[in-house]
């Protein structure tokens, strides 16, 4: 990876960035296969231009917008975030993109908007993994509106100073660093502001294993494995997992009064 010198921002981690090779060949993106190396091998079939995103629901400005237009609305920022997969491995990833809050404010949510729902492209011709019934396609994820407006919540269009590789969710993906990786929905084609909590893909597939919130929490185990530790990719010994993936100071306030054991 190219070393890019720049001052770290208030949300950046100074931990060493994971190798570009690992970030782009060790991926969970079931639309391109179940193996970790399947997405990097198969995602070449995804056409990311032209690409439009439909914006609808409880917004004053519903519209369908081209990705290049949407990207031009905001100055691009760098963010170096930890990424913790629900499978108990983690990386440090240098994203490029814009805050989700900036996008949502521009769309002007109505008073009825309580959740933001994201949908991935559904096209088995471009996404061969969708020919299998391993998940209910298309992939859907959602955030509470206040979570989506948090300054850490990010929309990525680039990785390590380069345009986002297809296997990492090109052309537009969500990055919520205090939640498990599966919340970070990839290749987004639709963003809807809604009043009811949407049914999300992994929570539907295995409700006892994957919750709506999916906040990184070392105290709440996955039924089949411990979440107390994780392996940082590139390291041998496991390290302790931190509450909210180390972002507790910034985000714990969002969940005041919520039983995190039940709302996992």
């Amino acid at each position: 990876a190219v070393t890019r010198k720049r001052a770290l921002g208030p949300y950046d981690t100074s931990e060493p960035v994971t190798s570009y090779q690992a970030m782009t060949t060790y991926n969970n993106f079931y639309e391109f296969g179940l193996g970790k190396d399947d997405p990097s091998r198969n995602a070449g079939s995804l056409r990311t231009r032209p690409w439009t995103i439909k914006i609808d629901g409880e917004v004053r400005r519903p519209q369908t917008v081209d990705i290049d237009t949407l990207q031009s609305w905001f100055p691009l920022e760098d963010r170096v975030y930890r990424m913790r997969c629900v499978e108990a491995w983690s990386m440090v990833m240098p994203w490029m993109g814009f805050p989700l809050a900036a996008l949502i404010r521009r769309l002007e949510p109505t008073g009825k908007a309580k959740y933001v729902k994201f949908t991935t492209l559904q096209d088995p011709k471009q996404m061969p993994g969708q020919r299998s019934g391993v998940l209910d396609w298309p992939y859907v994820e959602a955030l509470r509106l206040d979570e989506a407006l948090h300054p850490l919540a990010f929309m990525a269009v680039g990785l390590d100073g380069k345009i986002l590789p297809n296997q990492n969710g090109a052309p537009l993906r969500l990055v919520i660093p205090w939640k498990y990786g599966f919340k970070n929905i990839k290749s987004i084609v639709r963003i809807s502001l809604v009043s009811e909590r949407p049914k999300t893909t992994w929570a539907l597939a295995a409700p006892d294993e994957y919750g709506f919130y999916a906040n990184v929490n070392p105290a709440v185990d996955h039924p089949r494995w411990s979440q107390a530790t994780e392996r940082r990719i590139g390291e041998v010994a496991r390290r302790k997992t931190l509450p909210f993936n180390g972002y507790a100071d910034a985000v714990a306030g969002l969940y005041k009064g919520l039983d995190l054991r039940r709302n996992f």
Partner: protein
Amino acid sequence: MYVGGFLPALILLGDALSGLLGADPIKRATHQTGQLAIILLLLSLACTPLRLLTGWTWPARVRKALGLLAFGYAALHFGIYLFDQNILLLAVGEDIVKRPFITVGFLALLLLAPLAWTSTRASVKRLGFQRWTRLHRLVYLAAALGALHYWWGVKQDRTVPTLLAAGLLGLLLLRLVKRAAKKPATRPTSSG
């Protein structure tokens, strides 16, 4: 036989040393040894039905080696898991007690241990054939627990674990059919 059986372990070691196991080599090594263990165990269970169906004698001769190799890979699988937990025995103990997925895998390994221990001809003599046979029936339970462990361990796509479980079920059914067919006949007085 053993040379062939150790080959996957050598390849695994070579891959690990040359960085061919991908971004999370420990996880990959855990998966591969576990998969090898359950496949070898199933193959060892297939020996007797294969001999009876075909009349060949070679399956009986490789059965013991397959069983021992299965135990070897299961032990290696457990060893890598121990290493991965930083050999924190407290964490491992908690895992075994708290997580049924780990419990059944550990039980399968425990059940295989006495079978590996008594795999010698001398052990058969010492225990007597009938008691030895009864003891070694534990292999069915171990295989079933191993298959369950595998099935639970997979995140979403259960194709391979399902195929293995189906194979195991098929082998068990074959034995039940054989036993049912045998019943009306007079029981042989001597064992063996």
